[in-house]
């Protein structure tokens, strides 16, 4: 269980990026964080994975205080951040260096097969497309079988089709190992496809404004009325978080405007 307890973060330049954020995530749960630009979503993930320390409050994984990167917590950054001097296979195996070689090779091969990149094992990162590189980054985080996986807008740089593809893919992988997922996204559809719970954040200082439980059965149909309904709720909450008043009369307009411009 991941326990985020009244966490605040003030950067050295005085920016209060987070203030009093509390959140409990159970093992195997998928929590998605949405919110306007600069409301502290990336900051929250950096704190949870131990890259930065919170100014106040505490973050615990099963009772252990997180103050530095932890082996049971993995992260996929917004950019793939592959090491350009390692082949794809060695990038994926980066976190397995301490394992015996046969185990490492077989786990890397299995993971690459899982994301459909077996034929790319020996190429350099520069020879990958953006979507392939992001799949490699995802594999690198998954291959160590973390208990908690943090994803910071992992698919935002991809086209709509690849994105849907990778979302389904992520859910497949999740169904396999059931890690806890904490996902940041700008894409409301993505949030609803993935989430058990959606946290809507607001800025200055960054805090949680609203929590929306999505209890649609999986796999979720992106075209269904229930999906649309959930989407409307999330967009409305986002509009509120940006202090934009949703016009009650014309729900469609609100939806469109919100979808187009909320971030």
């Amino acid at each position: 269980m991941l326990d985020i307890n009244h966490v605040g973060k003030t950067y050295p330049n005085g920016v209060r990026a987070l203030d009093g954020v509390s959140l409990t995530v159970n093992l195997g749960e998928i929590v998605v964080v949405v919110g306007g630009s600069g409301c502290g979503k990336s900051t929250l993930l950096r704190l949870v994975c131990g890259l930065d320390a919170p100014t106040d409050g505490s973050i615990r994984l099963d009772g252990t205080l997180i103050s530095a990167p932890h082996e049971r917590i993995g992260i996929v950054f917004q950019e793939p951040r592959l090491l350009p001097w390692l082949s794809v296979a060695r990038n994926v195996g980066f976190g397995l260096e301490d394992r015996p070689r046969p185990e490492r090779t077989s786990r890397v091969a299995a993971q690459l097969a899982r994301v459909g990149l077996s034929d790319k094992a020996r190429v350099w990162p520069r020879e990958l497309s953006g979507g392939q590189a992001q799949r490699v980054a995802l594999s690198r985080a998954l291959v160590t079988r973390p208990e908690v996986l943090l994803l910071d807008e992992p698919f935002s740089a991809l086209d709509a089709f690849t994105r849907v593809d990778l979302q389904d893919h992520l859910l497949d992988l999740w169904a396999d190992q059931r890690p806890t997922l904490l996902v940041v996204t700008h894409d409301v559809d993505e949030a609803i496809v993935l989430a058990d719970r959606i946290l809507v954040m607001r800025a200055r200082p960054g805090r949680v404004q609203e929590e929306i439980v999505i209890d649609l059965p999986r796999p979720r149909d992106r075209q269904s009325a229930a999906f649309d309904f959930a989407k409307r709720r999330v967009l409305n909450a986002l509009d509120h978080s940006l202090d934009r008043r949703a016009r009650a009369g014309d729900a469609e307009t609100v939806l469109d405007e919100g979808a187009a411009r909320w971030w």
């Binding site: 993995g74 951040r81 350009p84 520069r126």
Partner: protein, 276 residues
């Protein structure tokens, strides 16, 4: 307007038709023409070629020196001095550069001093080195090492400081130790810059070996230069210069050849025209 649009393909096309070999050959045209011109000028008595010997005389001198084994002996002495000085300079420059890049405290501690020392023209050390280390090998090798040290130090320090934070964070997420971070992230990341620093260092090493051998050496290509001047043998001077050029180019090529396989991963602009 229309004329220039029509003309442009015609102007561009021949440039690309120059083949793989004609383009480098183009660069040889000027020196070859000059050499031929000078050779003919001396042959036809337009000049006696005493101070500026014609190519044929230089070639004869070169092969004479080679046949007596003199040239090889001098070249090996010089090569050994450069190698020893280069090794010392690279070792010191790499260690100090890596430390000053890695640790902010060490940077503040040693960098100002080293920068101050760097601004001294290194030849100015010569009298002091001779006083301290005598006129034999030690002072020469130390002078070369000093020359090699600074470009290597600067290159390594600058490269370590500018390693992408995002890549370093990947290492932190995987909980690398300080040693693991250096071996698996920092070293590979600075390798391209390191190769450039090594080549710059080697260039200075060759420069300084000449300076070192000007001061009381009885062996080495630099001695050959001084000797040629004192005995009035310009052909010998030019032959030594040619030997320097060959050795300098050869050792530089060695560094490039040894490191190219390690840098295949690079995704850089230069990769496209490196083979040509």
């Amino acid at each position: 307007m229309t004329a220039s649009i029509d003309d442009s393909p015609v102007q561009i096309a021949p440039k690309y038709r120059l083949g793989r070999w004609t383009r480098p050959a183009l660069g040889l045209l000027l020196p070859l023409a000059l050499a031929v011109f000078w050779e003919l000028a001396v042959r036809f008595g337009l000049s006696n070629g005493r101070l500026v010997p014609p190519p044929s005389v230089i070639f004869t001198t070169f092969s004479d020196l080679w046949q007596t084994g003199e040239l090889q002996a001098h070249a090996i002495t010089t090569l050994w001095r450069v190698a020893a000085g280069f090794a010392c300079g690279v070792a010191a420059g790499t260690v100090l550069g890596a430390l000053a890049g890695y640790s902010g405290l060490l940077h503040r501690l040693v960098d100002p001093t080293l920068q101050a020392l760097r601004s001294i023209p290194s030849i100015a050390w010569v009298p002091l080195f001779i006083l301290w280390f005598g006129i034999f090998e030690a002072s020469k090798i130390i002078l070369i090492a000093v020359g090699v040290f600074f470009p290597v130090y600067l290159g390594v320090m600058g490269a370590v400081i500018s390693v992408d934070r995002k890549i370093v964070e990947v290492g932190r997420v995987f909980r690398l130790s300080a040693f693991g971070m250096i071996r698996r992230i920092l070293l590979p990341a600075v390798l391209p810059a390191y190769v450039i620093a090594l080549r710059a260092g080697l260039g200075l090493g060759w420069m300084f070996v000449v300076a070192a051998e000007f001061l009381g050496a009885s062996q080495g290509l630099g001695f050959l230069l001084v000797d040629g001047q004192q005995l009035g043998k310009p052909a010998q001077i030019v032959a030594a210069i040619v030997a320097f050029a060959i050795l300098g180019k050869l050792t530089d090529w060695l560094i490039v050849a040894a490191t190219t396989p390690l840098l295949r991963w690079q995704d850089v602009y230069g990769a496209a025209h490196q083979d040509s």
